[in-house]
Symmetry: C2
């Protein structure tokens, strides 16, 4: 740990334009920067220096169209949408409203994109500062929203010269418990700390954090390590989008069985879910199935009659039941049966 | 803005036990605390002082059962579950892994719960510090995971004496643009800044942040204002859970029509989604519907034949189509028709 940390604003950097030498501007404004400091640099001035600007009309529908086009080119996938808010994952992997494209702190005929590779930007700025005699770490920061919590915080888009994560796993607390959690996203915490002395009007685009141990020789792996990959992200889609995907899953359910053992309680839950929706008089009961094709359980659905309407309704009801089973992680296939419809079941890896 | 911020660790507080006077312990260890400081206090020492402990067996299945019971009593709803990880919303409204229940930094026969009302805890601690002659702000912090990003950060569970949000809306940047975004979650940023000088072993349970403007007379609304309500949260459920909910939506689709005008392009998308799944030879075409019951468009589904199997399949295919339409925000109702099945449609407020 540390004896204390200072966070110092860097004022007087002024307007940054494409081609500017950011290291020179920073040290011109803050000649007091010293070895071991962490410089938290607002991504916007990095983008401006790197010329990551898009020319757009100052107003009107053409401006909106140009803005939509810029968003599309920055977007790898749409994560969630509600009204005018679009949250996307950028090609970098950041999940941000409007892809991090910003129209503030720039003249009305330009939009500012995120740096193309913020870790590379951090490394380059760090190298330029070292060339001017200062051995520091660099964090490129931006403002992001979060799930579940109101308000925005600054996080690290790029980092060089210190580990973005601090790992406490395996440490023992004073009671002898091994710490479980606990990779701390220290680069994000530094970005947030830096924001405390910065404004939103970019007159203080750089904060210096002094007293952080671990500013190293190596650039390190950068802030990309803070990006959660899709496979480990439990919130890769907005709730409404995932729910719509579930409806599409129901629309396109295959009639194939992965072969897992079915939990009878899950079947019971699925039956309870649809009980009110199925034609009165319909019987649903456990049935023997041949284990071929992966079936490990079966349900026989018998309609109350054999009119054309009864049969159409049987098909619809069986499909409701199949969707309800799928919600419990159970795949199904429909087989003809003299008493109605036989659903062959097996546990799926699908939705659960 | 500020001339700079200092973050100072408070060491030597030692073990905290139920009934301890936290204000006395803090000022005993840090007599240098002064008016205007922000004290970031790890929630665990607040919980311990308040006796928010649950006795549990030191090991074995009984320990796991007691732990599960504690989690259940802290949980308002389960947000997401994957393997051993359970993310819940607590009765306070926090979305946290394991409901914020912690087994570290406490002896093996106890679990530590979150403070019952962290804003009240912050106000009480602030009042106790003021009674001892220090006019400060207090933040109760804890470590949380985030969607989309690896690593944990500290955030504010409770706050008193400063605004948890800093509002920049309506401010004008140097280019004349009105700032849009931008309520900053300053209490969370302070919690993260405090974490930079704290350890994970609770030997530094308090950080003092000095130089933050806005430490006020009033306690303010507290950190509860940082909790996003369900209605405005686009990520109120894990993706897998929301997808399963979508499957249940398909299983329980009502046959009622809210009456909105149907977008023909949305119908086309819905048809494309299920095209491969529907019995070969089935015809789906636009059809007139009576505007009674809210229908604003119609689709006639005609099966390739009239055998019992054709009719069962017609019912299933129509249900697939209805789920696909629902994914596009279109509600439907099935009506008998001499040529098959007529789906009456209208736009829904449902999933979109």
């Amino acid at each position: 740990m540390t004896d204390g940390v200072e966070i110092l604003p860097v004022r007087g950097i002024g307007d940054v334009t494409p081609g500017d030498d950011l290291a020179a501007l920073i040290l011109g404004a803050a000649p007091w920067v010293r070895d071991g400091d962490v410089l938290v640099v607002t991504s916007k001035v990095v983008s401006k220096a790197e010329g990551r600007l898009v020319e757009v009309p100052a107003d009107g529908p053409e401006r909106e169209a140009a803005r939509a086009q810029a968003l599309e080119s920055e977007t790898a996938r749409v994560v969630a949408r509600r009204g005018p808010t679009v949250i996307v994952q950028t090609h970098h992997g950041f999940v941000m409203a409007a892809g991090g494209i910003d129209a503030s702190n720039v003249d009305k005929t330009h939009l500012v994109l995120l740096p193309a590779d913020p870790d590379a930007s951090a490394r380059a700025l760090r190298a330029a500062l070292r060339a001017r005699g200062r051995d520091v770490a660099v964090i490129i920061s931006d403002t992001m929203g979060r799930a579940w919590r109101n308000g925005l915080t600054d996080v690290a888009l790029g980092a060089a010269g210190l580990p973005a994560l601090r790992d406490h796993r395996g440490e023992i607390d004073p009671y002898g418990n091994e710490l479980q959690l606990t990779q701390m996203a220290v680069a994000d915490e530094l970005a947030s700390a830096g924001e405390l002395v910065k404004g939103k009007s970019d007159q203080v685009p750089v904060a210096v954090v002094r007293g952080i141990p671990g500013v190293g020789q190596d650039d390190g792996v950068g802030a990309a390590t803070l990006l959660r990959d899709g496979a480990s992200d439990m919130f890769s889609l907005g709730t409404a989008e995932a729910r719509a995907a579930g409806l599409r899953d129901a629309a396109t359910m295959p009639e194939t069985l992965p072969g897992g053992i079915v939990d009878p309680q899950a079947v019971d839950r699925a039956l309870v879910t649809v009980a009110e929706m199925i034609a009165p008089g319909t019987l649903v009961r456990p049935a023997e199935v041949l284990p071929e094709n992966g079936a490990t359980a079966g349900l026989l659905v018998t309609p109350p009659g054999t009119s054309a309407a009864d049969l159409v309704r049987l098909g619809a009801d069986a499909q409701r039941l199949r969707a309800s089973l799928a919600a419990e992680g159970i795949a199904s296939a429909s087989l003809p049966h003299e008493d109605g419809l036989l659903l062959a079941l097996s546990a799926a890896g699908g939705v659960r």
